[in-house]
């Protein structure tokens, strides 16, 4: 047979060879099948370790207790006991090095997350004390009258930092 018939075959074989060579360089060594089989475990195994390395930002209220024991005890003996410190004060990160100071969310919206009145009888939300933000001292901050660490007592006027 004439050579022009064979030529496309040589080209095709050449492309396949090139792809196989490229594959060696491009596909990572740890790419393969894990115990989960071809359908669910066909992946780069070192990726699992990469996900484990993500920085933990929220460290839990117990970490706050080490230095702020009084504040910790105040809130844990109040009706707000179950609310973690970081929900209002933000994530601990590497405090006190970075950030040196944590912010405090004093917006009405923070309190309204739970205390907007929603009379949903079939949900625990219906049992929470709530207000209508349009009629209940609109515009003023909740912490002017309510102490978040001791919400049981009313009329605890606090100085509101700007």
């Amino acid at each position: 047979m004439k050579s022009h018939v064979w030529r496309p075959l040589y080209v095709a074989l050449g492309i396949i060879a090139l792809l196989l060579v490229l594959r060696v360089f491009l596909v990572p060594n740890d790419f393969g099948v894990s115990e989960q089989g071809y359908m669910y475990g066909w992946h780069r195994t070192s990726n699992e370790a990469e996900w484990k390395k993500v920085t933990v930002k929220y460290k839990g209220s117990e970490a706050c207790k080490e230095c702020h024991e009084k504040n910790y005890n105040d809130i844990t003996s109040s009706p707000h006991a179950d609310i973690g410190c970081e929900n209002c004060h933000g994530p601990l990160l590497n405090h006190p090095e970075d950030p040196e100071k944590l912010s405090i969310d004093r917006n009405r919206e923070l309190c309204l997350r739970c205390h907007l009145k929603l009379s949903y009888k079939t949900s625990d939300r219906g049992n929470l004390k709530g207000i209508n933000p349009e009629t209940h001292n609109a515009g003023s901050k909740c912490v002017q009258c309510h102490a978040p660490h001791n919400p049981g007592q009313l009329g605890q006027k606090q100085e509101v930092k700007k």
Binding site: Y40, G41, H43, E48, E86
Partner: protein, 260 residues
Amino acid sequence: MNRREFCKKSLLIAGGLVVPLSALELFNPERLLAEKNDKSKTRWVFLVDTHKCVGCGFCVKACKTENEVPYDANVTRTWVERYVITNDGKAHIDSPKGARDGFQSAKLDQNHAGMEEIKEEDIAKAFFVPKLCNQCENPPCVQVCPVGATYKTNNGVVLVDRKWCIGCGYCIMGCPYSVRFFHPVYHVAEKCNFCYHRISQGMKTACVDACPFGARQIGNLKDPKDPVTKVIMNERVNVLKDEYGTKPQVFYIGLPREVK
């Protein structure tokens, strides 16, 4: 000792030696159940109590910060839906910004249709349902990935390889629960991974730690003593879209039929 007696006794001793110690151990049904399918000692599962959820959205806030999902982008790994079922049987659903700031109005946010007001006397039932990745036993999102960028770990969590993902979006379309989205920064598929960096060092997920009401719990289904396992095994729990055959591993207490 005669010959007959000698043979009898040696056979008895040899027979006794052959019986391994493990054969004398009584069957432990709990252990058998745990080891039935595979040898992995962990299978992470999630338990949500829809009665306890009040829709504060602290879970969404914590999740977005912990997992570096841009805070103001309207995408989130977990979200909370509000269901208000009126007396005529109609379900009114909303989830403004995925409830990142909770629900700041009694009116329901219907996007372009505006805010929907529902009179209190018309409400038959109303409740909140947190949603997150179901870490399915048969994850359809993993099956459709053409490059092997998403996979299931041996402890049941489905992960995405950000370096390997080509951003084709097949998995986003394939997930029946719509938990996947494009990460606005990395432009690859993104999803809840049960805070893999936290659970693998013995911590709880950020959303579980943030929830003040105990509506969210994470547990190991392979551990029969885990309180979450006990609830899943002994109480009436349900899963989302069971009929799809994906075997979702997020279990709900008090899941009504209106929730899809």
